[in-house]
C-alpha cells in the first residue's frame, strides 16, 4: 500500500475529468433530465454565446439584435422553461435548484453575462414561485414558457434603487405604493412609483416584480408588486447601465409610475379595518428568493475557474513552440512553462479553488432541492395549527428544535448504542428534517456566494496572470480577462460580500447548525481513517480550532472589557465567517472526492482512469485543505489574541517580569529552574529590559487554543508534498487538441 506522502510512483492523471466524472461528483448521474439540460446549455454556451463574445458583442451597453439571438437560443434549447413547473408548461419535475445551478455553470463556463440573462426571468418569477397566489403563478409562469408562435414573456426583478436607497441595505425603499382608487365592493387600484438601478433584463422585460414600501396609510408595510409593460402610466426602461462586466445581459435603470390592481401584490392581501395588508412584506419574499438564487451566482465563478484549467495548461505547454532552438521532444518544447514549479503550483491553487467552489455550490443547490418540499410541508403543518408569520413560526418550532438536536446526537452515536426506534421517529418528522437542513442551508448559501465569488475573483486574477500579457487581451483563450472582471460583479450583485458575512455571522451560531458541524468533525476523521491522503484529518483539526474560537469569542471581551462577539463588531464576526466559508468549501470538495471513489468503479467509462484521477483529486484536496487550514489558523489566532493588550514592561500586573538576581536566587533553591525560565523576560540589575516590546504573552486560559493550534500546524504535514504531486500530474495530463469554443 502506498503511504500518503510517499514518493512511490502513483497512477497518472490521464485526461481532464469529463461529464461522467462530474455527474458522479455532483450527484446527477441518475438524473437524465439534468444531463440533457447540461448538454443543451453547453451547446448554446460554446456555440452562439462564444461566437458573440468573440465577435465583440460585449463591447456595447445597449441591448442589441445579436444579444437578443441568445434569448431565442435559450428558448430553443429548453433553458427558458427550466424554472417552470410542468403544471404551467415546464418539463422538469420537482425542485429546480440543481437544474438552474447546472445551467448557470455551463453558460458561465463561457460567459457569465449569458448566464445572468438566462436566469433573470427565473429571478423575476421567483417571488411569484415562492409566495405568489395560484392565479399569479398560473398567469406568469405560463406566459414565461416558450410556445409555438408566441414569444415567451420575460421578466425583471426590481429591488435595487439609486443611492441612497435599497442596495446593500435591502430595507430602505423609496419605491412606493399608494391607493389610487378604492371602489366600493371593488378591488383597490394602486399607484406604484419606483426607480430602479442595475435591473437585469430591463431592455426587453414584459413584466417586473418590484419591491415597494407603503406610501399610504391605507397600505400596511412593504410588498412586492407585479408590473406589466402595458399597464397605464410610465413604464420607462431607462438608460442602459455602463457596466464593464456581464455585458451580454441587459441592465438598465428603469422608472415606473403605473396603475395596477391590488391583485398584483405578490402573495395577495387582506383588508383589515380599511387597511390593505399584504400577505408578505418584501423582506420575507426576497429572503426566500435570494437564499436560492445566490447559490447559482457562486457557481458562475466556480465555472470560470475550472474553465481556465485547459487553456492555461495548453498555453504553458506550447509557450516556446515555434522557436528555432526549441526542437520537438525536448523538455522546453513538450513542457514549455510547465518546467517551472511556480506556474504549476499556482495552477494547482486555481484548480483546487474551482473544485471546492463547484462542490460547495452544487452541494448547496442539492440541499435546497431537498429543503424546498420540506419547507412547503412545514408551512402546511404550521398553517394547519393556525401558525403564520416569522415570530409565531419560530415559537412553534421550538419543540422541534430540541428534537432536531436529539436526532443529530442519535445520528452521530454508534449504531449499536443508539435508540433506533427514536431515531427513525425523529428522522421521519418533517419539521425536524426541515430545521436540520434549513440550518445548514443558511450557512452554505452565503458561504458559497461569499467564498466562491470573493476568493474566486482573486484566483481568477491569478489565472489571468498565468497567461502573461495575453491574459488581458481580447484574444486570450477562454476569455479569461473578461471572466476576471465578471467575477467581481458576481461578488457584488445579489448581495455583496458584507451582506453574506452578516448573514453568516448570525446563522453560524445556530445551535442546530453547530451540532451538525460537530458531527462533521467526526465525519472528517472517519474519512481520514479510510482515505488518509485527502487532508480530511487536517480539516477536522481546523474545524475544531474554529469551533473553539467561536465558543471562546462568544464569551470573551476585549482589553477594554467590550464584548467581542456581536453583530456590529465586523472585525470579529466577519473573519470568523470567512474562516467558516473556507471550511465548508474544502469539506464539500472532500465529500465529492469520496463520492467519486465510491461510485466511480461502477461506471466502466470512469473506472478506466479512476485510479489516476483519484490520486490527483486526493492530492488536490490535501493541498487545498492545508491552504484552508492555514487561513483558519491565522484568522483564529488573530481573533483570539488580537483583542488582548500586549504586556508592557511597566505594567505592574505583568506577571512575566522578574529580575535576573531573583532568578539566580531561586536557582539556588531549586537547581535547574533557570533552564525553564525565559531569559529574555528578566529585568536586569539596572532596571533595564531586553530590547523588545514587553514581556512575551502568556496563554492563561488559552492553553486549549494553543494546543489545538499547535496540533493544526502539525496537521499541515505532507500538504506541500501533495501539492508537488498534483503539480507533476499537470505536466502529464493529456488535454484536447483545441479548445471547444472560439476565442
Amino acid at each position: 500500500m502506498t503511504r500518503p506522502g510517499s514518493r512511490a510512483a502513483r497512477p497518472a492523471l490521464r485526461t481532464l475529468p469529463g461529464d461522467d466524472v462530474r455527474q458522479i461528483m455532483w450527484r446527477y448521474a441518475e438524473r437524465y433530465d439534468l444531463q440533457m439540460l447540461v448538454q443543451a446549455a453547453r451547446s448554446v454556451a460554446r456555440g452562439l454565446v462564444a461566437r458573440l463574445v468573440a465577435e465583440g458583442a460585449r463591447h456595447t451597453h445597449e441591448w442589441t439584435e445579436a444579444k437578443a439571438r441568445m434569448l431565442e437560443a435559450f428558448d430553443e434549447a429548453g433553458l427558458t422553461a427550466v424554472y417552470i413547473d410542468p403544471a404551467y408548461g415546464g418539463y422538469i419535475e420537482g425542485p429546480k435548484n440543481l437544474a438552474l445551478a447546472l445551467v448557470a455553470f455551463e453558460l458561465a463556463w463561457v460567459d457569465a453575462g449569458a448566464a445572468t440573462a438566462s436566469l433573470a426571468t427565473a429571478l423575476a418569477l421567483a417571488p411569484i414561485h415562492e409566495r405568489g397566489t395560484e392565479e399569479q403563478k398560473q398567469r406568469y409562469m405560463s406566459l414565461a414558457v416558450p410556445a409555438p408562435g408566441r414569444p415567451p414573456w420575460r421578466g425583471a426583478f426590481c429591488l435595487t434603487e439609486p443611492i441612497p436607497y435599497v442596495g446593500v441595505e435591502t430595507g430602505l425603499l423609496s419605491g412606493k405604493a399608494r391607493v389610487a382608487e378604492w371602489p366600493e365592493d371593488g378591488e383597490p387600484i394602486l399607484e406604484v412609483t419606483k426607480r430602479g438601478r442595475f435591473i437585469t433584463n430591463m431592455g426587453f422585460a414584459n413584466f417586473v416584480t418590484a419591491a415597494v414600501d407603503s406610501g399610504d396609510e391605507r397600505i400596511q408595510g412593504s410588498c412586492m408588486v407585479i408590473l406589466e409593460e402595458s399597464d397605464p402610466g410610465i413604464f420607462d426602461r431607462g438608460t442602459p447601465a455602463r457596466k464593464l462586466v456581464h455585458q451580454l445581459s441587459s441592465t438598465a435603470d428603469p422608472v415606473f409610475a403605473l396603475r395596477v390592481p391590488a391583485s398584483r401584490i405578490v402573495g395577495g392581501y387582506t383588508v383589515r379595518d380599511g387597511v390593505l395588508v399584504p400577505n408578505y412584506d418584501h423582506a420575507e419574499i426576497i429572503e426566500a428568493v435570494f437564499r436560492r438564487t445566490r447559490v447559482t451566482v457562486g457557481l458562475m465563478t466556480a465555472a470560470k475557474l475550472l474553465s481556465a484549467v485547459e487553456p492555461l495548461i495548453r498555453y504553458h505547454r506550447e509557450r516556446f513552440r515555434g522557436g528555432e532552438a526549441v526542437a520537438p521532444g525536448t523538455p522546453r518544447y513538450e513542457l514549455g512553462l510547465q518546467q517551472r514549479e511556480d506556474v504549476l503550483h499556482r495552477l494547482v491553487d486555481i484548480w483546487a479553488t474551482g473544485e471546492a467552489a463547484a462542490s460547495l455550490g452544487f452541494a448547496a443547490a442539492r440541499l435546497f432541492d431537498e429543503l424546498d418540499p420540506l419547507e412547503r410541508q412545514k408551512d402546511a403543518i404550521l398553517a394547519s395549527r393556525g401558525v403564520r408569520g416569522g415570530l409565531a413560526a419560530f415559537k412553534a418550532l421550538r419543540n422541534s428544535q430540541k428534537d432536531a438536536l436529539e436526532l443529530i446526537a442519535l445520528e452521530a452515536a454508534p449504531e449499536d448504542r443508539r435508540n433506533q426506534a427514536r431515531l427513525e421517529e425523529l428522522s421521519s418528522d418533517p419539521l425536524v428534517r426541515f430545521l436540520m437542513l434549513d440550518a445548514v442551508a443558511n450557512v452554505l448559501c452565503p458561504a458559497a456566494k461569499l467564498w466562491n465569488t470573493g476568493h474566486g475573483a482573486n484566483m481568477m486574477r491569478e489565472a489571468v496572470s498565468l497567461m502573461g500579457g495575453y491574459g488581458i487581451t481580447e484574444d486570450c483563450p477562454g476569455f479569461l480577462g473578461y471572466k476576471w472582471m465578471d467575477a467581481q460583479l458576481e461578488a457584488t450583485y445579489e448581495g455583496p460580500e458584507a451582506v453574506q458575512r452578516r448573514q453568516l455571522s448570525v446563522t453560524m451560531t445556530n445551535e442546530i447548525f453547530l451540532a451538525q458541524f460537530r458531527a462533521w468533525i467526526t465525519e472528517m476523521r472517519r474519512i481520514a481513517s479510510r482515505r488518509p491522503g485527502t487532508g480530511a484529518c487536517a480539516l477536522a483539526s481546523a474545524m475544531s480550532l474554529w469551533l473553539w474560537t467561536l465558543e471562546h469569542l462568544e464569551k470573551a471581551r476585549d482589553a477594554d472589557g467590550v464584548k467581542l462577539f456581536q453583530g456590529s463588531r465586523h472585525g470579529v464576526v466577519f473573519p470568523l465567517a470567512d474562516a467558516l466559508a473556507w471550511l465548508v468549501a474544502v469539506r464539500a470538495q472532500i465529500l465529492d472526492l469520496v463520492e467519486l471513489a465510491e461510485k466511480g468503479p461502477q461506471n466502466p467509462a470512469v473506472a478506466e482512469g479512476l485510479e489516476g484521477l483519484l490520486a490527483f483529486f486526493t492530492d488536490l484536496a490535501h493541498a487545498h485543505v492545508v491552504r484552508a487550514a492555514s487561513e483558519v489558523g491565522r484568522i483564529c489566532a488573530t481573533l483570539v489574541f488580537g483583542y488582548n493588550r500586549h504586556p508592557a514592561w511597566d505594567d505592574p500586573s505583568a506577571p512575566a517580569c522578574y529580575r535576573e538576581e531573583e532568578l539566580a536566587s531561586i536557582e539556588g533553591l531549586i537547581p535547574g529552574i533557570a533552564a525553564y525560565a525565559t531569559e529574555s523576560e528578566a529585568l536586569r540589575a539596572d532596571g533595564s529590559h531586553p530590547a523588545k516590546a514587553g514581556p512575551c504573552v502568556r496563554f492563561e486560559g488559552l492553553e486549549d487554543f494553543t494546543r489545538l493550534r499547535a496540533k493544526l500546524d502539525g496537521c499541515l504535514t505532507g500538504g506541500q508534498l501533495a501539492k508537488d504531486r498534483a503539480a507533476r500530474a499537470l505536466t502529464q495530463v493529456m488535454i484536447p487538441a483545441a479548445l471547444d469554443y472560439p476565442a
Partner: protein, 269 residues
C-alpha cells in the same frame, strides 16, 4: 400508395474530434490513447444520416426511425444525452467495442443481426441509413456489408439529397468527383443510403424531446446485448495518424469573400 418508411440508421460513436487522438499499441492491439476516457460524439457522418432520417420521417406520416449502435454501453449512454435531444428515434443498442480498429465485417454482421431482430420492422419499407464514411475509419465498408447481409442491393454512397417522388420512387444525389452529383432513381425501398453531409443543419438540443426519447432509450441501453468482436483474422501492419497540417491565423474585420479567396489560393498552392 403507402409512402411511409421504416428507417434504420446505423451509427457508431467516436471520440470528440477536438480531443488529442494518439494511436497506441495496447495488449489487445491498436487503440487510441485514453480512448475510453475521451468524451465521445455520434459519428458525424452517421449523425447527418440521423437528421436526414428524422426529416424524412417527419414528412411522411407513419414512418419510424431506429438508431442501431454498436458501442461501449457507458459511452453510448453519455452520447445519448445529446443525440436524444436532436430527433425522435428508438434505440437498438449493442454493447461492444467501437472505434477504428474493429473488423468492419464483424461489425456489419452484428448490426445486421440486430436489425433483423427489430420487432415490427417492415423490410419492404426499409431504408438503411448510415454514414458513407466514419470519423473512426474512412474505409466506408460497414454500411455496404450490412446492406448485403440484409439482402438490400440498391445501395447509394456519398448521398447528399434524397427526394421521395409522388410515385414513391426515390431520387438520390450522390457525390462524384469535382464537387458534382450523380442523380439516381430507385423504385423505392428497400435501399441503403450512405450519407455524406446532406443539407440539414444540426438540430438544436431540445431537452423536452430528449426526455421523451429517454423513455425508450434507457430500457434499450439496459438490455443491450454484449457483442464480442474477436477479429481473429485481422492484422494491423501499421497504425498512424493521417498527416495533417494546421495553420491557424486569427483575423478580424475581413470579409467572408476575402477569407474564402485566401483559402482557395492556399488549396491551389
Amino acid at each position: 400508395m403507402n409512402l411511409s418508411f421504416h428507417i434504420v440508421v446505423c451509427a457508431g460513436i467516436v471520440p470528440d474530434p477536438l480531443q488529442t487522438l494518439e494511436p497506441v499499441i495496447g495488449d489487445s492491439g491498436p487503440a487510441l490513447k485514453n480512448e475510453m476516457l475521451l468524451p465521445a460524439v455520434l459519428d458525424p457522418w452517421a449523425a447527418h444520416a440521423l437528421y436526414e432520417a428524422a426529416h424524412l420521417a417527419r414528412g411522411h406520416a407513419g414512418s419510424k426511425v431506429w438508431l442501431v449502435s454498436l458501442s461501449p454501453r457507458a459511452k453510448l449512454q453519455q452520447v445519448m444525452m445529446t443525440v436524444a435531444q436532436k430527433a425522435p428515434f428508438e434505440l437498438v443498442a449493442l454493447d461492444g467495442p467501437a472505434g477504428g480498429f474493429t473488423d468492419s465485417a464483424e461489425v456489419a454482421g452484428a448490426l445486421a443481426a440486430a436489425i433483423e431482430a427489430i420487432p415490427g420492422l417492415d423490410r419492404s419499407r426499409l431504408l438503411l441509413f448510415g454514414g458513407w464514411e466514419s470519423a473512426a475509419r474512412g474505409a466506408g465498408t460497414t454500411l455496404a456489408m450490412v446492406g448485403e447481409r440484409l439482402g438490400i442491393f440498391d445501395q447509394f454512397q456519398g448521398v447528399d439529397e434524397l427526394r421521395v417522388e409522388p410515385d414513391g420512387s426515390l431520387r438520390i444525389l450522390e457525390r462524384v468527383e469535382g464537387g458534382r452529383h450523380q442523380i439516381s432513381r430507385c423504385a423505392g425501398p428497400p435501399a441503403v443510403l450512405g450519407w455524406a453531409t446532406g443539407s440539414l443543419a444540426e438540430p438544436p438540443n431540445q431537452p423536452q424531446l430528449g426526455m421523451q426519447n429517454m423513455r425508450t432509450i434507457l430500457p434499450a441501453l439496459q438490455r443491450a446485448q454484449s457483442v464480442a468482436l474477436p477479429a481473429a483474422e485481422l492484422r494491423f501492419v501499421r497504425v498512424a495518424l493521417p498527416s495533417q497540417q494546421r495553420q491557424t491565423r486569427i483575423v478580424r474585420d475581413v470579409a467572408a469573400e476575402e477569407v474564402a479567396r485566401e483559402i482557395v489560393d492556399w488549396i491551389r498552392g
